[in-house]
Symmetry: C2
Subunit: 279 residues, 2 copies
Protein backbone atom coordinates (compact mmCIF):
# COMPACT_ATOMS: atom_id res chain seq x y z
CA UNK A 1 0.00 0.00 0.00
CA UNK A 2 0.94 3.62 -0.38
CA UNK A 3 0.51 5.08 3.08
CA UNK A 4 0.60 8.75 4.01
CA UNK A 5 1.57 9.89 7.49
CA UNK A 6 0.80 13.45 8.54
CA UNK A 7 2.82 14.58 11.54
CA UNK A 8 6.18 12.89 12.03
CA UNK A 9 6.54 12.82 15.79
CA UNK A 10 6.94 9.79 18.04
CA UNK A 11 3.79 8.02 16.83
CA UNK A 12 3.92 9.05 13.16
CA UNK A 13 7.65 8.39 12.93
CA UNK A 14 7.44 4.99 14.63
CA UNK A 15 4.55 4.01 12.34
CA UNK A 16 6.69 4.96 9.34
CA UNK A 17 9.60 2.79 10.47
CA UNK A 18 7.39 -0.27 10.99
CA UNK A 19 5.33 0.20 7.81
CA UNK A 20 8.39 0.69 5.59
CA UNK A 21 9.91 -2.48 7.03
CA UNK A 22 6.84 -4.27 5.67
CA UNK A 23 7.46 -2.87 2.20
CA UNK A 24 4.66 -0.32 2.26
CA UNK A 25 5.52 2.93 0.48
CA UNK A 26 5.42 5.66 3.16
CA UNK A 27 4.91 9.35 2.26
CA UNK A 28 5.44 11.78 5.14
CA UNK A 29 3.91 15.21 5.49
CA UNK A 30 5.12 17.70 8.06
CA UNK A 31 4.79 21.45 8.43
CA UNK A 32 8.56 21.76 8.74
CA UNK A 33 10.93 20.87 5.89
CA UNK A 34 13.60 20.09 8.50
CA UNK A 35 11.45 17.30 9.94
CA UNK A 36 10.99 15.77 6.48
CA UNK A 37 14.75 15.86 6.00
CA UNK A 38 15.39 14.14 9.33
CA UNK A 39 12.66 11.55 8.61
CA UNK A 40 14.32 10.72 5.31
CA UNK A 41 17.73 10.42 7.00
CA UNK A 42 16.32 8.12 9.68
CA UNK A 43 14.54 5.91 7.15
CA UNK A 44 11.12 6.78 8.53
CA UNK A 45 9.63 7.68 5.12
CA UNK A 46 10.26 6.94 1.44
CA UNK A 47 9.39 10.49 0.38
CA UNK A 48 8.09 13.59 2.09
CA UNK A 49 6.61 17.01 1.60
CA UNK A 50 5.28 19.98 3.49
CA UNK A 51 2.18 19.88 1.24
CA UNK A 52 -0.87 17.60 1.40
CA UNK A 53 -0.69 17.33 -2.42
CA UNK A 54 2.00 14.66 -1.95
CA UNK A 55 -0.77 12.31 -0.75
CA UNK A 56 -2.76 12.38 -4.00
CA UNK A 57 -2.15 8.69 -4.71
CA UNK A 58 -2.27 7.37 -1.12
CA UNK A 59 -4.42 4.31 -0.31
CA UNK A 60 -4.44 5.22 3.35
CA UNK A 61 -3.52 8.32 5.37
CA UNK A 62 -2.76 8.27 9.09
CA UNK A 63 -3.25 11.68 10.74
CA UNK A 64 -0.75 11.93 13.61
CA UNK A 65 -1.16 15.63 14.42
CA UNK A 66 -2.19 17.07 17.80
CA UNK A 67 -5.89 16.45 18.50
CA UNK A 68 -7.00 20.03 17.76
CA UNK A 69 -5.61 19.75 14.19
CA UNK A 70 -7.26 16.45 13.23
CA UNK A 71 -10.58 17.87 12.01
CA UNK A 72 -8.99 20.73 9.96
CA UNK A 73 -6.51 18.26 8.50
CA UNK A 74 -9.25 15.85 7.37
CA UNK A 75 -11.13 18.82 5.89
CA UNK A 76 -8.14 19.56 3.62
CA UNK A 77 -7.27 15.93 2.95
CA UNK A 78 -10.65 14.87 1.59
CA UNK A 79 -10.09 17.00 -1.52
CA UNK A 80 -6.61 15.54 -2.04
CA UNK A 81 -6.75 11.77 -1.56
CA UNK A 82 -8.08 9.39 -4.24
CA UNK A 83 -11.77 8.42 -3.88
CA UNK A 84 -12.14 5.55 -1.40
CA UNK A 85 -8.79 6.10 0.32
CA UNK A 86 -9.02 5.47 4.06
CA UNK A 87 -8.20 8.23 6.53
CA UNK A 88 -7.55 7.36 10.18
CA UNK A 89 -6.12 9.28 13.13
CA UNK A 90 -4.19 8.35 16.29
CA UNK A 91 -5.75 10.85 18.72
CA UNK A 92 -6.21 9.76 22.33
CA UNK A 93 -9.74 11.20 22.50
CA UNK A 94 -12.27 10.02 19.95
CA UNK A 95 -15.77 11.46 20.46
CA UNK A 96 -14.98 15.00 19.37
CA UNK A 97 -12.91 13.76 16.42
CA UNK A 98 -14.84 10.84 14.91
CA UNK A 99 -18.20 12.51 14.48
CA UNK A 100 -17.07 15.61 12.52
CA UNK A 101 -14.45 13.66 10.55
CA UNK A 102 -16.94 10.98 9.49
CA UNK A 103 -19.34 13.70 8.38
CA UNK A 104 -16.54 15.35 6.42
CA UNK A 105 -15.28 12.14 4.85
CA UNK A 106 -17.11 8.78 4.85
CA UNK A 107 -13.92 6.67 4.74
CA UNK A 108 -12.66 8.08 8.04
CA UNK A 109 -12.10 5.59 10.88
CA UNK A 110 -11.05 6.81 14.35
CA UNK A 111 -8.03 5.02 15.84
CA UNK A 112 -5.99 5.13 19.03
CA UNK A 113 -2.81 3.11 19.45
CA UNK A 114 -2.17 2.97 23.22
CA UNK A 115 1.59 3.27 22.88
CA UNK A 116 4.11 5.92 23.78
CA UNK A 117 7.27 6.78 25.61
CA UNK A 118 8.28 9.83 27.64
CA UNK A 119 10.13 11.12 24.57
CA UNK A 120 8.59 13.16 21.76
CA UNK A 121 9.41 14.12 18.18
CA UNK A 122 10.99 12.46 15.19
CA UNK A 123 14.18 11.58 17.10
CA UNK A 124 12.11 9.45 19.49
CA UNK A 125 10.64 7.34 16.66
CA UNK A 126 11.46 3.65 17.14
CA UNK A 127 10.77 0.23 15.63
CA UNK A 128 8.16 -2.02 17.27
CA UNK A 129 6.61 0.73 19.39
CA UNK A 130 3.16 -0.83 18.84
CA UNK A 131 4.21 -4.41 19.54
CA UNK A 132 1.93 -5.79 22.25
CA UNK A 133 0.04 -2.50 22.66
CA UNK A 134 -3.74 -2.21 22.48
CA UNK A 135 -4.81 -0.43 19.26
CA UNK A 136 -8.43 0.74 19.48
CA UNK A 137 -10.60 1.58 16.46
CA UNK A 138 -13.87 3.41 17.01
CA UNK A 139 -16.21 2.84 14.06
CA UNK A 140 -19.65 4.47 14.01
CA UNK A 141 -22.81 3.49 12.18
CA UNK A 142 -21.69 5.20 8.95
CA UNK A 143 -18.26 3.54 8.96
CA UNK A 144 -17.46 1.13 6.12
CA UNK A 145 -16.70 -2.31 7.70
CA UNK A 146 -14.19 -3.00 4.93
CA UNK A 147 -12.14 0.06 6.02
CA UNK A 148 -12.07 -1.22 9.61
CA UNK A 149 -10.99 -4.64 8.35
CA UNK A 150 -8.05 -3.18 6.41
CA UNK A 151 -6.93 -1.08 9.38
CA UNK A 152 -7.28 -4.04 11.73
CA UNK A 153 -5.02 -6.11 9.51
CA UNK A 154 -2.47 -3.32 9.38
CA UNK A 155 -2.50 -2.76 13.17
CA UNK A 156 -2.12 -6.51 13.75
CA UNK A 157 0.87 -6.50 11.40
CA UNK A 158 2.47 -4.00 13.82
CA UNK A 159 2.01 -6.57 16.60
CA UNK A 160 -0.87 -4.67 18.22
CA UNK A 161 -3.83 -6.14 20.07
CA UNK A 162 -6.76 -4.65 18.11
CA UNK A 163 -10.11 -3.82 19.64
CA UNK A 164 -13.10 -1.85 18.44
CA UNK A 165 -15.60 0.15 20.49
CA UNK A 166 -17.87 3.18 20.24
CA UNK A 167 -16.08 6.56 20.49
CA UNK A 168 -17.87 7.62 23.70
CA UNK A 169 -17.16 4.30 25.43
CA UNK A 170 -13.49 4.70 24.46
CA UNK A 171 -13.42 8.23 25.88
CA UNK A 172 -15.02 7.20 29.15
CA UNK A 173 -12.60 4.28 29.55
CA UNK A 174 -9.51 6.43 28.93
CA UNK A 175 -10.89 9.12 31.25
CA UNK A 176 -10.82 6.58 34.09
CA UNK A 177 -7.56 4.75 33.53
CA UNK A 178 -5.45 7.25 31.63
CA UNK A 179 -6.69 10.83 32.20
CA UNK A 180 -7.85 10.63 35.83
CA UNK A 181 -4.42 9.31 36.99
CA UNK A 182 -2.74 12.45 35.60
CA UNK A 183 -4.83 14.75 37.81
CA UNK A 184 -4.71 12.39 40.82
CA UNK A 185 -0.95 12.46 40.50
CA UNK A 186 -0.56 16.19 39.77
CA UNK A 187 -2.71 16.96 42.83
CA UNK A 188 -0.31 14.94 44.97
CA UNK A 189 2.68 16.94 43.76
CA UNK A 190 0.90 20.24 44.32
CA UNK A 191 -0.28 19.32 47.83
CA UNK A 192 3.24 18.20 48.81
CA UNK A 193 4.98 21.09 47.08
CA UNK A 194 2.70 23.96 48.08
CA UNK A 195 0.88 23.15 51.30
CA UNK A 196 3.72 21.89 53.46
CA UNK A 197 5.44 23.80 56.25
CA UNK A 198 8.97 24.79 55.05
CA UNK A 199 10.87 22.76 57.69
CA UNK A 200 8.77 19.68 56.97
CA UNK A 201 9.08 20.29 53.23
CA UNK A 202 12.86 20.18 53.35
CA UNK A 203 12.74 16.82 55.09
CA UNK A 204 9.93 15.52 52.86
CA UNK A 205 12.01 16.29 49.78
CA UNK A 206 14.88 14.23 51.18
CA UNK A 207 12.68 11.34 52.31
CA UNK A 208 10.65 11.01 49.10
CA UNK A 209 11.33 7.64 47.51
CA UNK A 210 9.73 5.02 45.27
CA UNK A 211 6.15 5.45 46.54
CA UNK A 212 6.15 9.16 45.82
CA UNK A 213 8.13 8.64 42.61
CA UNK A 214 5.62 6.23 41.07
CA UNK A 215 2.48 7.98 42.29
CA UNK A 216 3.66 11.38 41.05
CA UNK A 217 5.11 10.28 37.70
CA UNK A 218 2.25 10.98 35.31
CA UNK A 219 1.25 14.18 37.12
CA UNK A 220 4.72 15.63 36.68
CA UNK A 221 4.75 15.15 32.90
CA UNK A 222 4.18 17.53 30.00
CA UNK A 223 1.31 19.92 30.93
CA UNK A 224 0.07 19.83 27.31
CA UNK A 225 -1.05 16.24 27.81
CA UNK A 226 -3.21 17.12 30.79
CA UNK A 227 -4.58 20.15 28.93
CA UNK A 228 -5.52 17.97 25.96
CA UNK A 229 -7.33 15.54 28.27
CA UNK A 230 -9.25 18.29 30.07
CA UNK A 231 -10.18 20.21 26.94
CA UNK A 232 -11.06 17.31 24.66
CA UNK A 233 -12.44 14.80 27.16
CA UNK A 234 -13.90 17.27 29.65
CA UNK A 235 -17.22 15.62 30.49
CA UNK A 236 -15.85 12.12 31.06
CA UNK A 237 -12.85 13.47 32.98
CA UNK A 238 -15.08 15.58 35.25
CA UNK A 239 -17.24 12.55 35.98
CA UNK A 240 -14.22 10.47 36.98
CA UNK A 241 -12.72 13.32 39.04
CA UNK A 242 -15.97 13.82 40.97
CA UNK A 243 -16.20 10.11 41.67
CA UNK A 244 -12.58 10.08 42.80
CA UNK A 245 -13.22 13.06 45.07
CA UNK A 246 -15.90 10.99 46.81
CA UNK A 247 -13.44 8.16 47.38
CA UNK A 248 -10.98 10.55 49.03
CA UNK A 249 -13.80 12.06 51.12
CA UNK A 250 -14.73 8.56 52.30
CA UNK A 251 -11.14 7.84 53.33
CA UNK A 252 -11.06 11.08 55.30
CA UNK A 253 -14.40 10.29 56.97
CA UNK A 254 -13.28 6.78 57.96
CA UNK A 255 -9.96 8.01 59.40
CA UNK A 256 -11.66 10.90 61.21
CA UNK A 257 -14.17 8.49 62.76
CA UNK A 258 -11.41 5.93 63.49
CA UNK A 259 -13.61 3.48 61.64
CA UNK A 260 -10.79 0.96 61.19
CA UNK A 261 -13.06 -1.84 60.02
CA UNK A 262 -14.31 0.32 57.15
CA UNK A 263 -10.79 1.48 56.30
CA UNK A 264 -9.42 -2.07 56.33
CA UNK A 265 -12.28 -3.19 54.06
CA UNK A 266 -11.57 -0.40 51.60
CA UNK A 267 -7.82 -0.94 51.47
CA UNK A 268 -8.31 -4.69 51.05
CA UNK A 269 -10.76 -3.95 48.23
CA UNK A 270 -8.22 -1.75 46.46
CA UNK A 271 -5.64 -4.52 46.73
CA UNK A 272 -8.13 -7.01 45.30
CA UNK A 273 -9.35 -4.75 42.45
CA UNK A 274 -5.98 -3.66 41.05
CA UNK A 275 -5.04 -6.96 39.32
CA UNK A 276 -8.20 -6.63 37.18
CA UNK A 277 -6.51 -3.65 35.53
CA UNK A 278 -2.78 -4.35 35.57
CA UNK A 279 -0.55 -7.32 36.33
Amino acid sequence: MEIGIIGLGLIGGSLGLDLRSQSHKVIGVSRRAQTIERALERGVIDAGSTEFGALSSADLVVVCTPISLIVPTVKCLRDVVPPGAIITDVGSVKGRVVEPCTTLYPHFVGGHPMAGTAEQGIEAAQRDLFQGAVYAFTPVEETNPKDVEILTGLARSLGSDVMTCAPDIHDQAVAWISHLPVFVSAGLIEACGLDVDPIVLQLAQRLASSGFRDTSRVGGGNPELGMMMAQHNRTALLQSLRSYQQQIAQFIAAIEAKDWVQLQTRLAQAQKLRPDFVD
Copy 2:
Protein backbone atom coordinates in the same frame (compact mmCIF):
# COMPACT_ATOMS: atom_id res chain seq x y z
CA MET B 1 29.55 -4.83 69.31
CA GLU B 2 27.04 -7.37 70.49
CA ILE B 3 23.81 -6.37 68.75
CA GLY B 4 20.34 -7.74 69.45
CA ILE B 5 17.65 -7.72 66.78
CA ILE B 6 14.04 -8.29 67.82
CA GLY B 7 11.81 -9.29 64.94
CA LEU B 8 13.52 -11.09 62.05
CA GLY B 9 11.52 -9.93 59.05
CA LEU B 10 12.74 -8.04 55.98
CA ILE B 11 14.29 -5.16 57.97
CA GLY B 12 15.55 -7.11 60.98
CA GLY B 13 16.90 -9.92 58.82
CA SER B 14 18.64 -7.58 56.38
CA LEU B 15 20.19 -5.67 59.28
CA GLY B 16 21.50 -8.95 60.67
CA LEU B 17 23.14 -9.93 57.37
CA ASP B 18 24.91 -6.56 57.04
CA LEU B 19 25.96 -6.29 60.70
CA ARG B 20 27.37 -9.82 60.81
CA SER B 21 29.39 -9.11 57.68
CA GLN B 22 31.05 -6.32 59.68
CA SER B 23 31.98 -8.77 62.44
CA HIS B 24 29.40 -7.63 64.94
CA LYS B 25 27.91 -10.43 67.01
CA VAL B 26 24.21 -10.57 66.19
CA ILE B 27 21.65 -12.16 68.56
CA GLY B 28 18.17 -12.58 67.10
CA VAL B 29 14.92 -12.75 69.02
CA SER B 30 11.69 -13.87 67.42
CA ARG B 31 8.39 -15.15 68.78
CA ARG B 32 8.67 -18.23 66.58
CA ALA B 33 11.43 -20.84 67.01
CA GLN B 34 11.07 -21.64 63.31
CA THR B 35 12.09 -18.10 62.35
CA ILE B 36 15.20 -18.35 64.55
CA GLU B 37 16.10 -21.63 62.87
CA ARG B 38 15.71 -20.11 59.39
CA ALA B 39 17.71 -17.00 60.43
CA LEU B 40 20.56 -19.23 61.63
CA GLU B 41 20.46 -21.22 58.37
CA ARG B 42 20.54 -18.03 56.27
CA GLY B 43 23.42 -16.57 58.28
CA VAL B 44 21.31 -13.65 59.51
CA ILE B 45 22.22 -14.14 63.18
CA ASP B 46 25.01 -15.71 65.25
CA ALA B 47 22.61 -16.99 67.88
CA GLY B 48 18.91 -16.69 68.56
CA SER B 49 16.17 -17.22 71.07
CA THR B 50 12.46 -16.77 71.58
CA GLU B 51 13.26 -15.06 74.90
CA PHE B 52 14.43 -11.50 75.59
CA GLY B 53 16.83 -12.97 78.17
CA ALA B 54 19.22 -13.76 75.31
CA LEU B 55 19.92 -10.02 75.07
CA SER B 56 21.34 -9.66 78.59
CA SER B 57 24.82 -8.77 77.33
CA ALA B 58 23.83 -6.73 74.24
CA ASP B 59 25.45 -3.33 73.69
CA LEU B 60 22.63 -2.31 71.34
CA VAL B 61 19.18 -3.69 70.57
CA VAL B 62 17.25 -2.87 67.39
CA VAL B 63 13.49 -3.38 67.78
CA CYS B 64 12.12 -4.45 64.37
CA THR B 65 8.61 -5.45 65.45
CA PRO B 66 5.36 -4.01 64.08
CA ILE B 67 4.79 -0.49 65.42
CA SER B 68 2.12 -1.47 67.96
CA LEU B 69 4.60 -3.79 69.69
CA ILE B 70 7.51 -1.34 70.03
CA VAL B 71 6.45 0.24 73.34
CA PRO B 72 5.57 -3.09 75.04
CA THR B 73 8.86 -4.54 73.79
CA VAL B 74 10.93 -1.67 75.20
CA LYS B 75 9.05 -2.04 78.48
CA CYS B 76 10.26 -5.65 78.77
CA LEU B 77 13.74 -4.99 77.38
CA ARG B 78 14.72 -2.27 79.85
CA ASP B 79 14.89 -4.86 82.65
CA VAL B 80 16.99 -7.23 80.54
CA VAL B 81 19.71 -5.24 78.78
CA PRO B 82 22.90 -4.11 80.58
CA PRO B 83 22.82 -0.55 81.99
CA GLY B 84 23.66 1.98 79.25
CA ALA B 85 22.85 -0.33 76.34
CA ILE B 86 21.21 1.54 73.48
CA ILE B 87 17.74 0.57 72.28
CA THR B 88 16.50 1.81 68.91
CA ASP B 89 13.55 0.92 66.69
CA VAL B 90 12.86 0.96 62.94
CA GLY B 91 9.19 2.02 62.98
CA SER B 92 7.97 4.23 60.16
CA VAL B 93 6.05 6.50 62.56
CA LYS B 94 7.98 8.13 65.40
CA GLY B 95 5.87 10.50 67.53
CA ARG B 96 3.80 7.86 69.26
CA VAL B 97 6.83 5.64 69.80
CA VAL B 98 9.68 7.93 70.83
CA GLU B 99 7.98 9.76 73.67
CA PRO B 100 6.78 6.71 75.68
CA CYS B 101 9.95 4.72 74.90
CA THR B 102 12.25 7.55 76.04
CA THR B 103 10.26 7.85 79.26
CA LEU B 104 10.54 4.09 79.77
CA TYR B 105 14.24 3.93 78.97
CA PRO B 106 16.62 6.92 78.68
CA HIS B 107 18.96 5.23 76.19
CA PHE B 108 16.19 4.82 73.60
CA VAL B 109 16.69 6.56 70.22
CA GLY B 110 13.96 6.47 67.55
CA GLY B 111 15.11 5.39 64.11
CA HIS B 112 13.60 4.88 60.67
CA PRO B 113 15.57 3.39 57.80
CA MET B 114 13.67 4.35 54.62
CA ALA B 115 14.30 1.05 52.89
CA GLY B 116 12.12 -1.84 51.86
CA THR B 117 10.98 -4.08 49.08
CA ALA B 118 7.57 -5.49 48.21
CA GLU B 119 8.58 -8.74 49.94
CA GLN B 120 8.24 -9.47 53.63
CA GLY B 121 9.64 -11.90 56.18
CA ILE B 122 12.96 -13.57 56.87
CA GLU B 123 13.17 -15.06 53.35
CA ALA B 124 13.16 -11.52 51.91
CA ALA B 125 16.18 -10.45 54.00
CA GLN B 126 19.03 -9.28 51.78
CA ARG B 127 22.51 -7.77 51.94
CA ASP B 128 22.93 -4.03 51.32
CA LEU B 129 19.22 -3.20 51.68
CA PHE B 130 20.17 0.08 53.41
CA GLN B 131 22.84 1.10 50.92
CA GLY B 132 22.01 4.60 49.66
CA ALA B 133 18.78 4.81 51.69
CA VAL B 134 17.96 7.67 54.04
CA TYR B 135 18.16 6.52 57.68
CA ALA B 136 16.42 9.00 59.99
CA PHE B 137 17.05 9.25 63.74
CA THR B 138 14.66 11.27 65.88
CA PRO B 139 16.35 12.31 69.13
CA VAL B 140 14.45 14.37 71.69
CA GLU B 141 15.69 16.68 74.44
CA GLU B 142 16.34 13.78 76.84
CA THR B 143 18.30 11.75 74.28
CA ASN B 144 21.98 11.11 74.97
CA PRO B 145 24.01 12.64 72.06
CA LYS B 146 26.59 9.86 72.43
CA ASP B 147 23.89 7.25 71.69
CA VAL B 148 22.91 9.11 68.51
CA GLU B 149 26.56 9.29 67.51
CA ILE B 150 27.03 5.52 67.87
CA LEU B 151 23.86 4.80 65.88
CA THR B 152 24.84 7.30 63.19
CA GLY B 153 28.20 5.55 62.76
CA LEU B 154 26.48 2.18 62.52
CA ALA B 155 23.89 3.40 59.95
CA ARG B 156 26.66 4.98 57.88
CA SER B 157 28.52 1.67 57.96
CA LEU B 158 25.43 0.17 56.25
CA GLY B 159 25.84 2.76 53.47
CA SER B 160 22.87 4.85 54.62
CA ASP B 161 22.47 8.59 54.33
CA VAL B 162 21.85 9.57 57.97
CA MET B 163 19.71 12.49 59.04
CA THR B 164 18.24 13.57 62.36
CA CYS B 165 15.02 15.46 63.04
CA ALA B 166 12.30 15.84 65.65
CA PRO B 167 9.76 12.97 65.79
CA ASP B 168 6.77 15.14 64.84
CA ILE B 169 8.61 16.72 61.89
CA HIS B 170 9.50 13.20 60.72
CA ASP B 171 5.88 12.09 60.99
CA GLN B 172 4.57 15.09 59.08
CA ALA B 173 7.13 14.60 56.33
CA VAL B 174 6.31 10.89 55.88
CA ALA B 175 2.58 11.68 55.97
CA TRP B 176 3.06 13.85 52.88
CA ILE B 177 5.45 11.83 50.77
CA SER B 178 4.90 8.28 51.94
CA HIS B 179 1.47 7.89 53.59
CA LEU B 180 -0.63 10.31 51.50
CA PRO B 181 0.39 8.58 48.22
CA VAL B 182 -1.04 5.27 49.51
CA PHE B 183 -4.51 6.78 49.93
CA VAL B 184 -4.29 8.88 46.76
CA SER B 185 -3.47 5.70 44.91
CA ALA B 186 -6.01 3.43 46.65
CA GLY B 187 -8.74 5.98 45.91
CA LEU B 188 -7.89 5.78 42.21
CA ILE B 189 -8.26 2.00 42.19
CA GLU B 190 -11.56 2.17 44.03
CA ALA B 191 -13.00 4.88 41.76
CA CYS B 192 -12.03 2.92 38.65
CA GLY B 193 -13.04 -0.45 40.04
CA LEU B 194 -16.33 0.48 41.68
CA ASP B 195 -17.84 3.54 40.03
CA VAL B 196 -17.50 2.66 36.36
CA ASP B 197 -20.30 1.48 34.07
CA PRO B 198 -19.76 -2.27 33.33
CA ILE B 199 -19.26 -1.87 29.56
CA VAL B 200 -16.76 0.94 30.09
CA LEU B 201 -15.09 -1.03 32.90
CA GLN B 202 -14.39 -3.98 30.65
CA LEU B 203 -12.67 -1.70 28.15
CA ALA B 204 -10.88 0.28 30.87
CA GLN B 205 -9.41 -2.93 32.26
CA ARG B 206 -8.00 -3.77 28.83
CA LEU B 207 -6.70 -0.27 28.15
CA ALA B 208 -5.01 0.28 31.53
CA SER B 209 -1.29 0.61 31.01
CA SER B 210 1.81 2.22 32.58
CA GLY B 211 0.09 5.41 33.81
CA PHE B 212 -2.51 3.48 35.75
CA ARG B 213 0.08 0.89 36.81
CA ASP B 214 2.44 3.40 38.43
CA THR B 215 -0.24 5.62 39.96
CA SER B 216 -2.08 2.65 41.50
CA ARG B 217 0.96 0.70 42.73
CA VAL B 218 1.22 1.78 46.37
CA GLY B 219 -2.57 1.85 46.82
CA GLY B 220 -2.85 -1.77 45.75
CA GLY B 221 -0.34 -3.02 48.32
CA ASN B 222 -0.72 -4.74 51.67
CA PRO B 223 -3.71 -3.14 53.52
CA GLU B 224 -1.83 -3.49 56.83
CA LEU B 225 0.59 -0.78 55.73
CA GLY B 226 -2.20 1.74 55.09
CA MET B 227 -3.84 0.76 58.37
CA MET B 228 -0.59 1.35 60.23
CA MET B 229 -0.26 4.80 58.64
CA ALA B 230 -3.85 5.79 59.43
CA GLN B 231 -3.79 4.49 63.00
CA HIS B 232 -0.34 5.64 64.05
CA ASN B 233 0.03 8.84 62.04
CA ARG B 234 -3.62 9.86 61.98
CA THR B 235 -3.37 13.60 62.59
CA ALA B 236 -0.63 14.28 60.05
CA LEU B 237 -2.24 11.99 57.48
CA LEU B 238 -5.63 13.71 57.87
CA GLN B 239 -3.99 17.10 57.39
CA SER B 240 -2.33 15.96 54.17
CA LEU B 241 -5.50 14.27 52.90
CA ARG B 242 -7.58 17.40 53.50
CA SER B 243 -5.04 19.53 51.69
CA TYR B 244 -4.97 17.03 48.82
CA GLN B 245 -8.77 17.08 48.66
CA GLN B 246 -8.57 20.85 48.09
CA GLN B 247 -6.15 20.35 45.20
CA ILE B 248 -8.56 17.92 43.53
CA ALA B 249 -11.47 20.31 44.15
CA GLN B 250 -9.48 23.09 42.47
CA PHE B 251 -8.80 20.91 39.42
CA ILE B 252 -12.52 20.15 39.17
CA ALA B 253 -13.43 23.83 39.52
CA ALA B 254 -10.94 24.90 36.82
CA ILE B 255 -12.13 22.22 34.38
CA GLU B 256 -15.80 22.99 35.11
CA ALA B 257 -15.17 26.68 34.46
CA LYS B 258 -13.01 25.90 31.41
CA ASP B 259 -10.39 28.05 33.07
CA TRP B 260 -7.59 26.74 30.84
CA VAL B 261 -5.09 29.38 31.92
CA GLN B 262 -5.46 28.32 35.54
CA LEU B 263 -5.26 24.63 34.64
CA GLN B 264 -2.17 25.14 32.49
CA THR B 265 -0.53 27.07 35.34
CA ARG B 266 -1.26 24.30 37.81
CA LEU B 267 -0.09 21.46 35.59
CA ALA B 268 3.10 23.37 34.73
CA GLN B 269 3.64 23.96 38.45
CA ALA B 270 3.31 20.23 39.17
CA GLN B 271 5.88 19.50 36.46
CA LYS B 272 8.24 22.07 37.96
CA LEU B 273 7.78 20.96 41.60
CA ARG B 274 8.30 17.22 41.14
CA PRO B 275 12.10 17.26 40.63
CA ASP B 276 12.47 18.87 44.08
CA PHE B 277 11.29 15.52 45.49
CA VAL B 278 12.53 12.84 43.11
CA ASP B 279 14.90 12.66 40.15
